[in-house]
């Protein structure tokens, strides 16, 4: 039996009346079988007035006692299924063993991300923050209706009924019942007004704050179903030959050899290239290798990383669009006693999720059905609908587990999802699984943009920072997307400067500027977005200022963060747990960084060892995180560990470079990522907090590169202005 799969039986709850009907009629039909529905969803599409609060869209309780929690956010490893279900089960007083996860369909009216207005999707480490009250209220609503049902059946006052671990009971009469025994009667109760519900006092939490076991099981026996694993009747596998350079187009092609290759069924041209459809992957791969394609590269990108760096470095010498101004940084720098200056460069990066991009699509008279590790429901639905001439509600999306994403599956242009739909359109009635190889995944684009930062910072005679000027040069992620209006204001893409424009240190004169450069290289958010580069440059410079001021890097930061208690909290905790200032073995160094992203605060202390041959190793990382109320401490720890490991890949190994318009790297032999022998010991400490919960998927990543660079500086005296980090011999 598998969980988390299809939407075929899900609670398509369009109104409160439907909720009643659903609870009544669904009965035991809750445990989802493995067979995935191929039926299209046009008939199941529902309309709800935007903004309606529909808690009942999130839970379904069956006569078999199962509590199915409908997940509006994608599970891609970050633990969101477990977190969302914890919130609902907490207020429902369900037993954790009866809780089952199920993906929500694309329906922004009910499943929008409350932090994103009317859009449905997962990102920005926002799942727990935006769902915290929504999921709890959904659970409390169902609980209140079950209590009303029990009160009616037992003829006792509702106020005397207790609920615990999936059982309702009435002490005086000795009655008790499991949820399943009461669902039919519960369904006939009026839905209580949200205002009448009382959510639990945090002191009474039974689940929130406990490390409940994860709900996304099936990951140790091969039974978890990813898009790559989906098998539908009559399905074909498609591989696409993409242009070797971004912006290239097919001029002409010859598919004669491919078409006679065993297993190949069809070859179709789509806007992004030539697709070969076959009965299985290997046949499609061999067929693709036999294509002969003449590419029109007249409008293709032909640049190289070296040229881009030269251009960006020149721009960094010129004033840019102003993202932040405090005081007069130019004058303060002119008057400063000491000026620290550095030009940083940080490369393009691929997401390189373990599951290469893929999607399954079926197009027929009813519309288009998609199966995908779906991160961007509303964007994908609208983009596919527009391209296929459908109404958005004719595009049904099934959200499957994702084998990682790190932002990649939330593509603002729906690139690979659209590709799958366009191939399927050419083979109406046949389900098509688009599979990207690792080479496709590495070379077909959407990268963390390359950035150059120039920073100048000044100290006065007493060693106090008095000036900070930072110029950031790079591509805009938001420009040209549906998000432009939200992300880009007055020519400043917030995701290009976040972390620098929000630098918390008490420095009276501060100027942050941006040069947005159009470049023919496709770019996208990558785990922690702008913070991936701004945390590096800012935290390295802060360390250099501390060194110039002859002050301890932790003390220096504490003084400058006096107005920021949550930064102080994580910095002090990390320093204390790392035994900051204690002796280290010879050749070892210690470095610190602290950074806020997505409203969470993380400090990390890294210890490195430098060998005589000039190589180095990250030995240990102590991490402190303040993400508000800790919903599941073990998952928070796991996300910090993973975020650090992900950041270490970029700090130590990964780099996408371009040569004459072509991506140089192609697979894990030359796009290297962290392996187990390079993984340090990691300790994670969580700051106790009663603040509303914030996210943990991304905030663990930004501080690690600067913490490691600062540790290497401490032991070698060298300066670090390039990622991945390299020691001078």
């Amino acid at each position: 039996m598998r969980r988390n799969l299809s939407n075929g039986h899900q609670g398509l709850v369009s109104s409160r009346r439907d909720f009643l009907k659903l609870v009544t009629t669904v009965g035991a039909g809750l445990t989802l079988a493995m067979n995935l529905p191929v039926a299209l969803a046009a008939d199941a599409a529902v309309t709800v007035t935007a903004g309606d609060f529909e808690p009942n869209a999130f839970v379904r309780i069956g006569t078999d006692n199962s509590v199915t929690v409908i997940m509006k956010h994608l599970e891609m490893g970050q633990g969101t299924f477990t977190g969302l279900a914890t919130l609902l089960a907490e207020e429902l007083d369900a037993d954790w063993s009866q809780v089952v996860a199920e993906g929500a369909p694309a329906d922004a009216a009910r499943y929008n991300n409350l932090n994103w207005g009317t859009m449905q999707g997962t990102g920005g480490s926002s799942a727990m923050a935006n769902s915290f009250l929504q999921m709890r209220t959904a659970g409390a609503t169902a609980r209140a209706m079950l209590i009303e049902a029990a009160a009616q059946r037992w003829k006792v006052p509702a106020t005397e009924i207790q609920v615990s671990q999936g059982i309702l009971s009435h002490a005086a009469s000795g009655n008790s019942a499991a949820f399943g025994e009461l669902v039919e009667l519960a369904a006939q109760q009026p839905i209580p007004d949200a205002q009448s519900l009382r959510l639990k006092d945090p002191a009474d939490f039974a689940y929130i704050g406990q490390s409940l076991p994860r709900l996304d099981r099936g990951k140790t026996d091969g039974s978890a179903l990813f898009t790559q694993d989906l098998q539908l009747e009559g399905m074909l596998t498609a591989l696409v030959a993409h242009p070797p350079r971004f912006g290239g187009k097919v001029k002409q092609f010859d598919a004669a050899k491919a078409l006679v290759s065993p297993g190949v069924v069809d070859v179709v041209q789509i806007p992004s290239g030539i697709a070969v459809l076959a009965t299985d992957f290997w046949s499609a791969k061999k067929g693709r290798d036999l294509l002969s394609i003449d590419w029109d590269e007249s409008a293709a990108f032909a640049g190289s990383t070296d040229d881009i760096l030269r251009e960006y470095r020149a721009l960094a010498e010129q004033p840019g669009a102003v993202a932040r101004t405090d005081g007069d940084a130019t004058e303060a720098l002119a008057n400063a006693t000491t000026v620290v200056e550095a030009v940083f460069d940080m490369p393009y990066l691929a997401h390189a999720a373990m599951e290469p991009m893929n999607a399954v699509a079926l197009v027929n008279d009813a519309g288009c059905e998609i199966w995908n590790g779906e991160q961007f429901h509303t964007v994908d639905q609208a983009t596919v609908a527009a391209a296929l001439g459908l109404k958005p509600e004719q595009v049904k999306i099934n959200m499957l587990l994702a084998g990682g994403s790190f932002g990649r599956r939330a593509n603002p242009h729906s690139d690979y999802v659209l590709e799958a739909a366009q191939i399927a359109k050419a083979r109406r009635g046949t389900p098509v699984k688009l599979v990207w190889t690792r080479e496709d995944d590495t070379r077909a684009g959407y990268y963390r943009p390359l950035y150059v930062h120039k920073v100048r910072a000044g100290l006065d005679a007493s060693g106090n920072p008095v000036a900070w000027e930072q110029r950031i040069v790079g591509q805009s992620i938001g420009k040209g997307t549906a998000f432009e209006a939200f992300i880009v204001k007055d020519g400043i893409d917030a995701t290009s400067v976040e972390g620098a424009s929000t630098l918390p240190y008490q420095i009276p004169n501060m100027q942050v500027e941006l040069h947005t450069v159009d470049q023919g290289v496709p770019v996208q958010w990558w785990r922690s977005v702008g913070h991936t580069h701004t945390a590096f440059s800012t935290e390295v410079i802060i360390d250099e200022l501390a060194r110039a001021a002859k002050q301890d890097p932790v003390d220096f930061r504490l003084k400058l963060l006096a107005q920021h208690p949550r930064h102080l909290g994580v910095l002090k905790l990390a320093a204390e747990k790392a035994d900051w200032g204690s002796e280290l073995p010879k050749g070892w160094g210690r470095g610190v960084a602290v950074h806020e992203s997505f409203n969470s605060f993380v400090a990390q202390v890294a210890e490195v060892s430098v060998q005589d041959n000039g190589s180095f190793k990250v030995e240990r990382v102590v991490c402190a995180v303040d993400c508000g109320l800790a919903i599941n401490p073990d998952i928070i720890r796991a996300q910090m560990e993973g975020g650090i490991g992900f950041g270490l890949s970029a700090a130590l190994l990964s780099e996408i470079t371009l040569k004459d318009g072509q991506v140089v790297q192609s697979n894990f032999h030359d796009y290297q990522v962290l392996r187990i022998n390079q993984m340090p010991t990691i300790e994670v400490h969580i700051v106790p907090s009663a603040e509303p919960p914030t996210g943990v998927g991304e905030p663990g990543t930004p501080p690690i590169a600067p913490a490691v660079a600062n540790a290497l500086s401490a032991v070698t005296g060298q300066r670090f202005q390039h990622l991945p980090l390299k020691l001078n011999s």
């Binding site: 140790t220 026996d221 091969g222 599951e355 084998g403 990682g404 690792r438 796991a638 992900f646 962290l674």
Partner: protein
């Protein structure tokens, strides 16, 4: 052409070309999908299966080379070491996205079958061919040790 493949103790007659990688024979023909595609060039370990008990990257093993041998996939592991590894993986909540974990578990089970008490360095050596982009490595190390303790 027809190739006979023994997967998890069951014989399968497959109509496929001899150069088809074992990975795709298992996934697309035998239809067991626990074994994953990650790189296609033996760089990531997601496709690891046991061939006659040895951990093998199925993405670069032609199906013809596996004919007549005992192939075990994640769906068919039953050894005490494999069961201990799976239990430790769950107890320590190793998986995040989970996509690489079949391969991780196949490598870890093979390690413990050969060496029931591996050192840190031996764990690193046996597992460094398996990439996890979620970077669950610290827990993988701990889980292998926990499984080793259970087997001791």
């Amino acid at each position: 052409m027809s190739i006979t493949l023994q997967v998890n103790g069951v014989s399968h007659e497959l109509d496929t070309t001899p150069d088809t990688p074992l990975l795709w024979a298992i996934r697309d023909h035998v239809r067991l999908t626990g074994t994953k595609f990650g790189c296609g060039m033996s760089m990531c370990g997601a496709c690891t299966v046991h061939v006659d008990g040895k951990p093998t990257r199925s993405c670069v093993t032609p199906v013809s080379a596996a004919a007549g041998k005992a192939i075990t996939t994640i769906e068919g592991i039953t050894s005490p070491a494999a069961k201990a590894v799976q239990q430790a993986w769950t107890a320590l909540e190793v998986p995040q996205c989970g996509y690489c974990q079949s391969g991780q578990i196949m490598s870890a089970a093979a390690l413990l079958e050969q060496n029931s008490q591996p050192s840190d360095a031996e764990i690193d050596a046996a597992m460094s061919g398996n990439i996890c982009r979620c970077a669950t490595y610290a827990r993988i190390r701990s889980a292998i040790k926990q499984a080793a303790d259970q087997l001791a």
